[in-house]
Homo-oligomer: 398 residues x 2
């Protein structure tokens, strides 16, 4: 039997000071029947675990030689460079995913949805690598694996079968990619990935960079298939730039369609991509999640993986400065993420998992604006990061 | 006589390893005639001092109580909230400017151009406060003071006279503000501030948020007056959002006009404001500088003041990811800033001031992407920041 954990003087989601009690890895009402470990939160803000709803654990170059980026500006240039790098740099998906997970654990990221490449060149190697890391890291972080056809599915024969194999091997989610601009056949692409999802009983997550009305058309196709297969609450659209490229009336209509089918949207708040209408989306009851996308890879060298910094990106991209708006961005990077990727037992309610991140800040807005780094991270009642440093036993990384 | 300083194993601007020699506060050819202090740069990149070309030292709330931002979204809402805050929060320009200067010194910011409010309510109090701090901090950092009519000049009678008084009291530069949308009379506003500049023999720096063709018109008016008064190389336009809101042909024509009169442009790369055509601007030979704008103030709570992080903002806003592009953003935050605000003796050439920032990074692109914080900062040959911590004697701040 492990000791109960009493966290004194924490401020859940920036509210008043409270004590939090964890038994057997879950929040419960405090009592005193056994040994108790006490932790003084010193009035810091307690966030539930930060949620990374969209990254590419198999693509990061953290800890490797410097990659000189001479890649051209188009998405195809980048996909090609990415595929070359996998071959030439010998990126180990197992090792690199472990490095990124430990780096972001320090910030308090306790749940990760990662797209993982499946293609006819590497086959399932990256899926296998990330699944190994997931197993090795299971006491530190939850990882969801999306079988992702980065190099295209329809244009590369055999990819669909590999995705099917990936889902049988343990991948959790069916990934899709721009059905028009990359796949060149939106109907066939979407029909194929929704059929996979239906057959495996697994959710869908689609990279959708398609612009303007082309993107809007694809969103409608996605909604139609979600309804037809009763996949409400099981579909996420990642990026959805088109929502930031249309007039307000069209935006609203699309947002309503997405809300009706409970399709979640993931946005990284990229400074150089269209800004999504966050306020409209949340007002319509849409689930909005966020993520870091690739961290320190061949696409670009940026990214810490800190989802509190990501809240800052969301705010800054949208010109948000008020305390209320900044709180909303924290919600997107916590509860919004949890809803979007379908986490159970998330939050501070009794019965939820005893996960939290203590952030030294006076208000949620300050936490977003200054992203203080000396955080303490507790998972299932166990301190895994203490004042910004990894604590306790860690799995070895080669 | 102070000892000479020999910095071994530095990589100026990311180039090959070199030794740098400083005598009497300036880089000179190495020799061995007197006592020498040796510093091992351990192969770190050496940047010349980072240049903050646009901030508001009198507006930061660093170290004060948390300001709950409930300010409306328009520029006028923010100007009003700003003026109320000055009155109600008792912001001491002297103390707050000192706090910001020390905070950004840690990053390696050694030269600062600060706009400082002049208005009919506070008069010259903020100018006096920042000038006091400048004197107290003169061994650490260079500060230029712009007499800035934040609350409007033409609409508030007496402001022009106060600006005149500020310039006599020691302000270095004549500030201007949106000649149309705030001042409501572009000709009269610009004529007045250029006349001030002419009379005092001082440069001009104009906040120009005016959108699209309205902004373009104001840029033309500024260029006409620059030419008429032979103020080439003495005028900076800050923000210049209009350059990011026009088609390429119009952009190019305006950029040529600015280049002809050697008018510099300052952009902060704000994620929510129009992205300026950085590449076009630099190709045309335009001087491009950057700055943090307000740090942790009533306008918004963001901002560290780190000009290397600012290079990252510039890159990300413009979708730049290649090493060459990232190097360009470092250039904007160093040499571009120095050109724009007219610093003499800047850089690593013999005879230049012995100022540098050692950054632990493999390449300039990595320095931008990861903005490492354990920097060492040397000013006039003296270590003022050692591995990310202030070093040596510091002036007291109340």
């Amino acid at each position: 039997m492990t000791a109960d954990v009493l966290i004194r003087n924490a401020r859940p989601f920036g509210g008043p000071v409270e004590d939090l009690f964890i038994r057997d890895g879950r929040f419960v009402a405090p009592d005193r029947t056994g040994p108790v470990v006490e932790i003084d939160a010193a009035g810091h803000i307690a966030l539930p675990g930060l949620v990374e709803a969209h990254t590419h654990l198999d693509k990061t170059l953290i800890g490797m030689d410097w990659f000189e980026n001479r890649v051209g500006p188009t998405r195809n240039d980048r996909i090609l460079a990415d595929r070359n790098a996998k071959r030439e740099l010998g990126i180990s998906a197992r090792r690199q995913s472990a490095r990124q997970i430990l780096q972001t654990l320090v910030y308090g990221v306790l749940s990760i949805r990662s797209h993982v490449d499946v293609d006819t060149e590497i086959g399932l190697a990256n899926i296998d690598g990330v699944l190994e890391t997931r197993e090795a890291m299971r006491d530190l972080v939850d990882v969801q694996v999306v079988a992702f056809p980065q190099s295209g599915m329809l244009p590369r024969e055999g990819t669909l079968e590999l995705m099917d194999a990936a889902l049988r091997a343990g991948a959790d989610i069916v990934g899709g990619i721009d059905p028009a601009t990359i796949e060149r056949d939106p109907i066939r692409h979407l029909d194929a990935i929704f059929a996979l999802a239906d057959r495996h009983g697994k959710p869908v997550d689609i990279h959708l960079h398609e612009p303007g009305e082309l993107g809007a058309f694809c969103l409608e196709l996605i909604a139609e298939r979600t309804r037809a297969l009763s996949l409400q609450g099981q579909v996420m659209v990642s990026h959805a730039y088109c929502l930031g490229m249309l007039d307000v009336a069209r935006q609203s209509a699309l947002i309503d369609t997405l809300a009706q089918e409970r399709i979640a949207v993931m946005t990284v708040g990229s400074p150089s991509a269209p800004a999504l209408p966050l306020r409209l989306m949340r007002q319509a009851g849409l689930t909005v999640s966020s993520g870091s996308d690739g961290i320190q890879g061949t696409w670009d060298p940026f990214g810490s993986g800190d989802m509190l910094e990501r809240a800052k990106y969301l705010a800054q991209r949208n010109g948000m400065a008020s305390d209320v708006d900044l709180e909303e961005t924290v919600r997107i990077c916590t509860f919004g993420g949890a809803d979007g990727i379908g986490l159970g037992g998330y939050g501070f309610s009794k019965g939820c998992f005893g996960d939290l991140v203590l952030v030294p800040a006076r208000t949620l807005a300050e936490a977003v604006a200054l992203t203080p780094l000396r955080r303490t991270v507790i998972r299932r009642g166990r301190v895994v990061v203490d004042g910004g440093k990894l604590a306790g036993d860690l799995p070895e990384i080669e």
